[in-house]
Symmetry: C2
Subunit: 239 residues, 2 copies
């Protein structure tokens, strides 16, 4: 009965240094954002303002602002009771997010294509090389970040682009599953879709570029090709 019941599962997020010129709110925001992306916070676990304030040793104010922003971006969910938590993943939602990624990102890629010059192309090539290096090292975290940089760099070639915030919102909602995607990439990197994309860019072939990006995303999420496999990863992320 009076079992020494611990406090609810403790929240542990990787702390980073606060750079100069960065407001406390921005600092808190980036740490919480990374925590969500890395699956450091259990889905369904309530995030209270005061608890996080004590954890990060700041006043409740910056926490409030960061939580609200992350909720607006879909990284967190605000319940009717005004409780804030990391939303649970479901197989159907995962499928929707995956297909939304494909639809939006292939569109963003095609829209960026006309703006890609040789300088940008070199930048993309370098990023792709870095990814290959990281894959040989097997540095999962690095691969994931570099892979996102590759996509981001491609889409932002379009100076009038408006979709990157939407894309990043989906990435946030995918959270730790984004890392699993890049993990699986390693096994199948025989077919380098980034290379396909680069060749399509060189040929200024928008359709081929869309195919390559779509395939890159879809094959990355092949680890969830069956409902059973996906369910395993979901359960894994909830513990």
């Amino acid at each position: 009965m009076t079992k020494p019941m611990d406090k609810k599962s403790p929240i542990e997020i990787t702390l980073t240094e606060r750079n100069e010129g960065v407001t406390i709110t921005q600092w808190v925001y980036s740490m919480l954002r990374n925590a969500v992306m890395n699956g450091e916070i259990l889905p369904g676990r309530a995030l209270t303002i005061r608890e996080l304030a004590a954890l990060l040793d700041v006043s409740p104010m910056p926490i409030r602002e960061a939580l609200r922003q992350l909720a607006a971006e879909g990284a967190l969910e605000i319940q009717g009771n005004r409780r804030v938590l990391v939303p649970h993943m479901t197989a159907m939602k995962f499928d929707e997010l995956c297909e939304a990624r494909i639809a939006i990102e292939s569109h963003a890629a095609a829209r960026a294509l006309p703006y890609i010059d040789n300088v940008k192309l070199d930048e993309l090539r370098q990023l792709d090389c870095l990814i290959d290096d990281a894959q040989e090292q097997g540095n999962l975290n690095k691969i994931s970040i570099l892979n996102q940089n590759f996509h981001r760099s491609l889409y932002t070639a379009n100076p009038h682009q408006v979709t990157l915030p939407l894309i990043e919102s989906i990435w946030l909602q995918l959270g730790p599953f984004m890392r699993l995607a890049t993990n699986h990439l390693k096994d199948h990197y025989l077919v380098d879709r980034h290379n396909d994309a680069m060749q399509a860019i060189e040929r200024k072939d928008a359709f081929a570029l869309q195919i390559a990006i779509s395939a890159d995303i879809r094959e990355g999420f092949a680890f969830a090709s069956t409902p059973e496999l996906l369910q395993r990863f979901i359960e894994e992320s909830e513990s």
Copy 2:
């Protein structure tokens, strides 16, 4: 000594009543959101927390939260100086937003199709009738809202849908141009794209539905078919 004289153009937003159970932050948020959608705030005009707090007769706190949320949704822009303002529209950005709408909304429609049953179909038919009525009345505001309801109702037929927040973010960035779109619809409502969409839904024809939604959006924005025309509307919205 110096009197509080407003040198800047005064901010005037339509005030609404605060419903019960709605927090002040939510109330402020919805008013500011409507103000942006209706073009009541001049692009480039700085929105200061204290000024809005005085205007709405609340403390600065709810204003801060509402502004941050709207900025996260793309309705407002936070400059490096941390000034908050309604972003300026450009011809290129308008084009990007329009094409993004087409890509995402046609995707959302196709994804919703399998979930549309007869009940939902009736709901859509009723909404379409209401739109026709409003068009005969020439009630621009009503048309605009009903038209958004039609699209929203269609996309939310999918219970696992994840794209509506992204779509609404684009609507917000389009702001007053969304109304112009529905305005122009009136002139060309000979070809009722909503009817096309409905027929595609009845036939469970995803591709035809995408075509209909794309055409509905594109024809709505036909008022900006030439750079000169668009420029006129942009200048109109900035004064």
